[in-house]
Symmetry: C2
């Protein structure tokens, strides 16, 4: 069938643009996360300030995706796979926006930490940061490739990040008990660690969305979570 003259873009082109927006927003969130982690590890105040300023780009990307998705729902009234495509874009954009916010919060705490003497306990933070950045990269690749197996691998691996968080929590508490001057910086590092752990949770949400997008079904089994790290 020929498109009516007033239709500038085809439906499938519109869906491609939407997926492209989500992929680009994923890139923005990845950069925010990697830079936020570098900032806290290297005590880089300028980089932390940059992350804080750049988070607005993730917010703007989410607004664009929300607007485009609502337009498609209203004007194209998609069903089946196409409907799931639009809902998935809305859900993933919401998780990516939260990841950007959490990266920004890590950078805000970096500014506070950098006002005091350097402390050398950020190895655990660095390790957690690498794991979270890896999870985000892999789940975004799984979204683009429509790869349910790769998505579920990210979902399962989040347990390691939770385990690292729990051991870092105990480690930081020990430092606080040994030296009261460590209490304030370690409290901020506790929240930095918690933010990274939550970024991992958002990656598992995205993995679940990829599963729903491809199969039409929600993920049914429960990952075993037993600690207070869970929210």
């Amino acid at each position: 069938v020929e498109l009516p003259a007033h239709t500038v873009k085809s439906f499938s082109e519109e869906l491609e643009l939407l997926v492209g927006d989500v992929a680009r927003m994923g890139g923005v969130a990845e950069t925010l996360l990697v830079d936020a982690i570098s900032g806290v590890i290297r005590r880089d105040t300028a980089l932390a300030e940059e992350v804080i300023a750049r988070d607005e780009r993730a917010d703007a990307a989410q607004r664009t995706i929300d607007r485009r998705a609502l337009e498609i729902l209203a004007l194209r009234q998609p069903v089946a796979t196409d409907l799931r495509e639009v809902i998935a874009a809305l859900k993933i954009a919401s998780d990516l926006e939260r990841i950007g916010d959490l990266a920004k919060n890590i950078s805000k705490r970096t500014l506070v930490l950098n006002r005091d003497e350097p402390i050398h306990l950020t190895r655990g933070i660095e390790r957690m940061g690498k794991m979270a950045a890896g999870a985000l990269k892999h789940v975004l690749d799984a979204y683009i490739a429509r790869d349910v197996t790769a998505a579920l691998a990210v979902w399962v691996q989040d347990e390691d990040l939770d385990a690292h968080y729990n051991s870092l929590f105990r480690e930081l508490l020990t430092y606080m008990m040994e030296d009261p001057r460590m209490i304030s910086p370690c409290a901020h590092l506790l929240f930095v660690a918690k933010n990274i752990e939550r970024i991992g949770d958002h990656c598992t949400n995205i993995a679940e969305t990829v599963h729903f997008l491809v199969t039409g079904e929600p993920v049914v089994s429960q990952r075993p979570k037993t600690s207070v790290a869970e929210e």
Copy 2:
């Protein structure tokens, strides 16, 4: 027009059922929050365990809302106000599910806190808990009444909750410095306070959704947020 014989429910009845589901899920989240706060204040282990078990109801409610919303989108292909109604239900259910998770996490930390000696610094937690429960009640009322003014009042008042969080953060750090035995329980209380602060953020998200639902426009102005409480 007469409905075809096979149409069991009218479109407007389906939307009413969806709004009813969201309102009921709001009630579940409210009870979880109020009980989680009571549990931590009164050191009530049984109540905390009940909250942890009951959070599953909020998760189930979200799954029901997601399923019903997707069915409406696929079969009724709503536009304009009706489309916003469905999108709003999806968004609010997602915020309510997070509120349930955060209440559950408060209760998990209550179990940990109750293993140690009682500490008497939970006044600030009680105050924050009351503010958050008030915000949730008011924003759910605003959703049912389609009251943008009431929704925006909740949105503005979240600043008070942030201010309380920041002062409680400093207070808890002081207690930790005065007595190292307080470090572990106070670290858990820091996260309890943070969870309540985040519940406030989810209430402001719901307020923004009510604004979008009624007006069709996102909230444009930014609340002033300057502290690290922000994520």
